[in-house]
Structures are given as structure tokens and as C-alpha cells.
């Protein structure tokens, strides 16, 4: 490539980067301004940053509750998937019985299922079992949502672990159960980390199930809180921006520190044909 061509392509890429990242910079600025300041000059730097807006949103506007709910619900769901999913994936990788491949194929196909096909019936189920508008109900739904994909991805990870390792453990007198938790589980850690990151981000951002199954303010997750806040403070854009920042900051901080791990986690399973 000639240098001239390179400069043109580079310029295009810089403009594209502004397009992708600019909105975040803008919202970050907004989150430190008051709405009056914003209407005067929407694009200026926050020269007198209002840091106090963050504690106001966090405490007075209930974001601490939303944050805690998100953490409990998503954390619980991710744990359930980690335990159930890795055990099942390990089974599909190392054992089989007559219908095991068929069962795996059905589980694999259900990755394609749109959430709408379960939305209404899950609503009925949760009502029947008095789990509607509870954290535990949403947690169970979340765990099930990501379970098929997690099993699919983890299976390939367990398959890549050599059989000898397992045999050696058994000779040393380990039961299947112990061999799994003491040896396979730790060895599969890269895969488990990747899938946990993916599940965490997907569920942290989930909205449809949350808005359908949760109705009381004290149980809202962050996306619901942001949505409600937008509805009530539609004109107070800079306050909304502060709320948005609280919802995305945890993930963005982790991303800045572990970007490669994150990219690996978010794309795991989609790279192989």
C-alpha cells in the first residue's frame, strides 16, 4: 500500500472510531453537567463537573437498589449455569448413551429459540408457582436462557482436555465426581471464564424478561431502572445520562482492564464454523 492510500484509510477509520466511541464521550460529559448547562451548550466540556449527581442518582433515585438486584439476579443465574452447564457439558464431552447425541442436538437447536416463544408461557408458569415479581423467578429464567449456549461452548472445551488426565485421576482413586471438580473443572478454566463473561454481559443487559416478570420498584434490575427513570425524567436528560453511566460503568471498567478476555468471551462459540 502506498502511504497516500494508507493515510486515507486511516482517516476513514478515525472518523468511524469517532462515530462508535463519540456517543460515550458525549454521555460521559452529560453525566457531569446539569440539564440547564446542557441546554445552553450541548457539546461543551463539563468545565465545572457536578460529581454530586452520582451519589444523588445512586441514593435518592434508587440506583443502588437496582444495582444490587442486578448483581443478585445475574450473579445467581451465572452460578447456576456454571454448575449445571459445566456438568452437562462434561457429560456430553466424555460419556454417551443411546440418546445422548440427540439430546445434545435438541439443546443446541434451542439456542435459536426467540425469547418470545417462552415469554407468555413462562409468565403463566411464574404466576402459577408464585414466582412472578420475585428475584428468584427471574434468576431461574435467566439461567435457563443462557444454559443451552453455555453447554454447547463448554462441551468443546471439555473435549479438548485429554482423556489421559482423567484416567490418571481415576487410577489415583478419584471417583468421577471428584475427578470432575478437582481436575476437569480447574483445567477448563479458560472456557469457564469466557462463558461466564458472556453470560454475565448478556444477562446484565437483559430487558424483555425483566420488564415482563418484575413489577415492583424494589426488585427492578438496572435496565428496568434506567427505563423507568427515562420515563419519569424525560426532559432531565443529564440526570438520565448519570443513570446510564451507573448502569454501564461496571462493565466498561472490566472491559478496559481485561479487553482481550472480554472479546474472547463475547465471541466464544461464534468463531468456529
Amino acid at each position: 500500500m502506498t502511504d497516500f492510500k494508507k493515510i486515507i484509510i486511516f482517516t476513514i477509520l478515525v472518523i468511524y472510531t469517532i462515530f462508535e466511541i463519540g456517543p460515550f464521550v458525549w454521555i460521559t460529559f452529560m453525566s457531569f453537567k446539569t440539564t440547564e448547562e446542557f441546554y445552553e451548550s450541548p457539546y461543551s466540556l463539563p468545565l465545572h463537573p457536578h460529581f454530586e449527581k452520582y451519589p444523588v442518582v445512586w441514593i435518592d433515585y434508587n440506583y443502588s437498589t437496582y444495582f444490587l438486584n442486578s448483581a443478585i439476579i445475574v450473579g445467581g443465574a451465572v452460578l447456576i449455569i456454571l454448575v449445571l452447564g459445566s456438568m452437562a457439558a462434561y457429560f456430553f464431552a466424555k460419556f454417551s448413551f443411546r440418546f445422548s447425541e440427540m439430546i445434545f442436538q435438541i439443546i443446541f437447536l434451542s439456542i435459536m429459540f426467540p425469547p418470545q416463544v417462552r415469554l407468555i408461557s413462562l409468565y403463566q408458569m411464574l404466576v402459577e408457582y408464585h414466582l412472578i415479581n420475585t428475584r428468584i423467578g427471574l434468576m431461574l429464567v435467566y439461567a435457563s436462557t443462557q444454559l443451552p449456549f453455555s453447554i454447547y461452548v463448554l462441551r468443546t472445551f471439555f473435549e479438548s482436555i485429554p482423556r489421559d488426565l482423567l484416567d490418571a485421576a481415576k487410577i489415583d482413586g478419584c471417583s468421577e465426581w471428584k475427578a470432575f471438580w478437582r481436575i476437569m473443572f480447574p483445567v477448563a478454566r479458560p472456557g469457564l471464564t469466557a462463558i461466564t463473561i458472556l453470560n454475565f454481559v448478556m444477562l446484565w443487559n437483559e430487558f424483555l424478561f425483566a420488564v415482563t416478570f418484575i413489577s415492583s420498584d424494589s426488585k427492578r434490575t438496572l435496565p428496568l431502572g434506567v427505563m423507568r427513570f427515562l420515563g419519569e425524567h424525560y426532559e432531565d436528560v443529564c440526570m438520565v445520562a448519570t443513570g446510564v453511566m451507573i448502569a454501564v460503568i461496571p462493565i466498561l471498567i472490566f472491559y478496559i482492564i481485561f479487553s482481550e478476555k472480554f472479546i474472547e468471551g463475547m465471541t466464544v462459540g461464534s468463531i468456529k464454523g
Binding site: I27, P114, Q116, V211
Partner: protein
């Protein structure tokens, strides 16, 4: 005997959970679609719900919108992602930074993407109209999300902004996994760089393209949040998607019937399933190039 115990311990918990929270609900939705389900009364109606769908203009409008969304996204997201990946593949300056930066929108909730674009399209102070006013194109200033003609394309730009980075990362990884000797061989045979891309690289990336097209398609067939936070399907159903319509019929309109939206969900499920399978087969093609 021992194998049975293994099945029980390792597979059973996940399997029970899967049947309870995925298989059963899916079949219950299928079953529901043959009933009218009020708050207190359930009545079998046979295929009546499906006959109603055929005549339901809002459904057809929303199906059309959703399919346009999916089609446009496949071209825009994957096309842009391919060009970007190509630039990074050639190790342009700052390519590591670009890769990490473009991926950021993938990580944020759709709700936030919605709010961001709601503000970018704001009539008075939004970024787009500000730019148009600054460069003197005042005639093009419109309320982007308030106009039935521009609302859907405007939202499609939003989801493209969000997902292009994801497609780019996967294409880039696939490009790197092609052995470099293949490109060298093509060069020795006298291929120019354009030919190398079109005749060597794209055919080799076909399985990856196939995966990305199916993923993009499935993702857009369920678009809900983005619409819900910005337009709620308006103006004049111009951004109504099947997902928002099912949600409205089930939980927002006071029609007290869960049967009809279940029928919608069942039908849409079948549509997604069939089209994904066809798309996957079509693009993957019969010839798989090995390397």
C-alpha cells in the same frame, strides 16, 4: 450400571432444568395458540387465532419491518465489518486500539443504545441535526424518529452501530486463521490484492459469513428493547416489530387474551427456524474449502 450413575449425577440436573424452563414453556406456547386465554376463562378455539393472524394488518406490517431490519442489518453490519476487518488485517496504524474501541457498543444494554440514539436523533439538540444545520443542510433537518419514513432506517443505523464491531472481530479472527502461505501462493501466481480478497479470502471465509448471517438474522428477528425505549413501535406502526407486537398484545393492550399472542409467537418461531436453516445452508454452500 456405573454409567447410569454418571448420567444421573452429571446430566440430570441440567436436563430437568432445561425441560422445565425451555422445552415445557415452548410446547405450552404452541398449545396456548389454540385457545383464548382470559384472566379467568380458557376456551378452545382451534385454528381461529391463526386465521385472525392472516387478516391482522398490524402483524403483517410488523413482520415486514422485522424482515427489512434483518435484511438491511445483514448487509450493513457484515459488509462494513468485512471492510473494517480487512483494514485491520493489513496492520494499519493503531489496529489494536481500533479493534478494542469498536467492540465497546457490543457490551452495553440495548436500553442504553436506544437512549443514545434517541438523543442523537433529537430534533432540537441532537448530534445529527446539529451537524446538518452546521454544514448548511437545513432542509434535511427532520424529527428522525417522529417521521414514519425515517424512523425505521434510523433505528437500523442504531443496531448497526452496536453490532458491527462484533462481526468485525469474528471476521478478523477468521482471516488470521487462514494460513499465510495461501495468500503467498496466490501472489506468486500473479493475483493482485483485489483478486486475493475476492477469489481467495472470501471463499475461504464462507463458513464464517454463514454463521454471522444466521446470528445477525436471529438477533434482529427478536429486536424489542431498542424499539421499546425509542418509539414503542410508532409513528404509525412504522417501527413495530413482531417482538413488540407480541408483547403489546400479551401485556399492554387490555384485551385479556394470551392465546392470540401465543399464536403469533408460535408462527414467528417457525418462520425464524425455517429461514435460519435455509440461510445457513445457502451461504455455507455445498463446497467447503479446506485449508
Amino acid at each position: 450400571m456405573k454409567n447410569k450413575k454418571v448420567i444421573l449425577i452429571f446430566l440430570l440436573p441440567a436436563l430437568v432444568f432445561y425441560i422445565l424452563f425451555i422445552l415445557y414453556p415452548v410446547f405450552r406456547t404452541f398449545y396456548n395458540s389454540f385457545f383464548k386465554i382470559g384472566a379467568f376463562r380458557i376456551k378452545y378455539v382451534g385454528l381461529k387465532n391463526f386465521r385472525e393472524i392472516v387478516k391482522d394488518e398490524i402483524f403483517w406490517k410488523s413482520a415486514k419491518n422485522t424482515l427489512i431490519w434483518a435484511g438491511a442489518s445483514i448487509v450493513l453490519e457484515i459488509g462494513t465489518a468485512f471492510l473494517l476487518a480487512l483494514a485491520l488485517f493489513n496492520k494499519i496504524w493503531l489496529h489494536r486500539f481500533f479493534r478494542v474501541a469498536w467492540f465497546v457498543p457490543v457490551l452495553i444494554p440495548y436500553i442504553v443504545t436506544g437512549i443514545i440514539w434517541l438523543w442523537i436523533y433529537n430534533y432540537d439538540w441532537g448530534v445529527l441535526n446539529t451537524i446538518l444545520r452546521t454544514i448548511g443542510l437545513r432542509n434535511f433537518v427532520v424529527p428522525w424518529l417522529g417521521n414514519p419514513k425515517t424512523a425505521l432506517p434510523a433505528l437500523i443505523v442504531g443496531t448497526t452501530w452496536m453490532w458491527t464491531g462484533f462481526n468485525m472481530v469474528i471476521l478478523l479472527a477468521a482471516m488470521h486463521s487462514i494460513p499465510h502461505t495461501i495468500f503467498d501462493a496466490a501472489k506468486v501466481d500473479g493475483a493482485n490484492s483485489f483478486q486475493i480478497v475476492t477469489k481467495v479470502m472470501i471463499p475461504l471465509l464462507r463458513p464464517t459469513f454463514s454463521n454471522l448471517v444466521v446470528l445477525c438474522f436471529i438477533g434482529k428477528m427478536r429486536v424489542f428493547d431498542m424499539v421499546w425505549v425509542t418509539t414503542e413501535g410508532g409513528p404509525l406502526w412504522s417501527t413495530e416489530t413482531v417482538a413488540t407486537y407480541i408483547f403489546k398484545r400479551a401485556f399492554k393492550w387490555n384485551v385479556y387474551d394470551l392465546g392470540y399472542p401465543s399464536a403469533l409467537a408460535t408462527l414467528w418461531f417457525i418462520v425464524i427456524f425455517v429461514i435460519s436453516l435455509i440461510l445457513g445452508r445457502l451461504i455455507k454452500g455445498s463446497e467447503i474449502y479446506e485449508y
